[in-house]
Amino acid sequence: MSTREGAVGSGSTLTQSVDRFAPFSARRVFVIGGIALILCGMILGDIFAAFILHPNANRIGENLLAATRAVASHDPQGAGAAFQNIGGLLENRGTKVDAHSHMIGFGYIALLIALLQPYIALSESTKRFLAKLFVLGAILLPVGVFLIHYVGMAGSPFAAIGWASVFGDFGGFLVWLVCLCELAGLVKYFGARPTVRSSDELHNDRSWAARTLLSGGTVLVLIGFLHGSYYAGAHLFRYEAKDSELLSAMTTQAAAGNSAAALQAVAEYGQLQGAKAVNVAAHAHVIEFGVLAILLAFFQPYVFLSEKWRRIWVVVLLIGSLALPLFVLLELQWGLLAGGLADVGGLLVIVALFAMLVGIWRYTGKLDSSAVVA
């Protein structure tokens, strides 16, 4: 057993951990639920990118082409029908992106609330109830949003909102309600000003893994911010002007009977959308991974693995976090090769996160057996 693993079972640290990380305690539900939500969201994102995003983009392109051809053949109904199809495809894409991003976002909020648990002045039973309610809402919303495209308006008593949307919104309401209660508990804690405030093991860890995740995560956020600033300064306005110019070219050239120029404009429009998408995706992912690394830094005391393996998973997580956005950016130049490498980067993050979850799971087992012996 390593120094790290041996340290878990000793003295006041154990007593404090048994109290704060007890079975089904609020913090345990938030930590394990939060990491599980992030993992599910990332896996969903990988599946979405591979099987839905690219085929969906192709179908949007085909419909835009159909709309341009309809203009050339002076067929207004055809143009309208093509845009109706594009609307359906955009809804399919939008709901998948929403499900993916909300699952990960709720995972981050769960980890953040887990960190704040010692500062929430509510009874343990209330905190436990809120934690379970949060997880329920955090599952309900993305599942509901994911199903919107498939369920549609079937059996709904409402004019514009289907059942999937109703359940999704209810999930969002539960999450919002829990956040509000936690905020009230936080305000109550700081309002009460207790004379003795016990220190929290999660706020005091200065291990190599925690420090590397903290500084690595901050650097990732910084890179994302620098890239975002560069993109906004150098490309955003130019791309917007080009977008408008190409749409105009599609219609005017097609109406004038110059099909070749119209089709060229459609092709350039597709490339432009691709350039925008990879820049936005790289910017968003590097910042999200940075925030994830910073959050995980706090939970390193709960990762019950040897020091060597904890360090390995930290490095794997940071490499994957940098590789995914970098290769997403290179997709326009390198094509499928970059796409594959970006997927490998995402897989590294998923594997490292799963390993940390296993470490936390092992920690709970160790803690529970120590509590039973005591």
Binding site: A70, P76, R211, T218, F225, T251, V291, A297
Partner: protein
């Protein structure tokens, strides 16, 4: 709790709450109308072109471009306020681990909070005024955030106790 830590935690929380409130207001009163108008303007642009009514087609496409310009910035401002607010909150929890004196940490916290407020505000103002002023505000805000994040990353790296 040190001043810089408290400053970031409560500042971040306030910014996130503001961003969420702005997002709810925008989603309820403006977003759906904007999106409906955007898709309708695009479809109209193509349908009018198919009918050979080119002036109306170009006007509809220009309307779509203008709506898209505003929509992108509204969503960006909302998303960045919330995102930066949560980031400040998380950094605030760990801010005592930044290996500088309290005065330096306070400067970093002030740069981070000021930048996080100003940068999305500049982006949002671009929807009302397309001149250089709002863009300059956004640039100053993002420069402050970059400065604050660089200092914080350095502080985390040099903290070893």
């Amino acid at each position: 709790m040190t001043f810089s830590r408290r400053f970031l935690i409560f500042g971040g929380l306030a910014l996130a709450v503001w961003g969420m409130g702005y997002g709810i207001w925008y989603a309820v009163f403006i977003e759906h109308q904007t999106l409906d108008g955007l898709s309708s303007a695009l479809a109209t642009g193509f349908i009018r072109a198919a009918e050979n009514r080119m002036a109306e087609s170009q006007a509809a496409l220009a309307d779509a471009a203008s709506r898209s310009f505003v929509y992108v910035r509204q969503v960006d401002a909302h998303g960045h306020w919330i995102g930066l607010g949560l980031l400040l909150l998380i950094l605030g929890i760990a801010f005592d681990r930044v290996g500088f004196g309290e005065r330096m940490r306070t400067y970093l916290a002030a740069a981070l909070l000021a930048g996080s407020v100003i940068f999305p505000l500049g982006v949002l103002l671009e929807t009302w005024n397309r001149g250089a002023g709002p863009q300059a505000l956004a640039v100053i805000g993002s420069a402050l955030v970059i400065l604050g994040l660089s200092g914080t990353a350095w502080g985390f790296a040099r903290s070893n106790s």
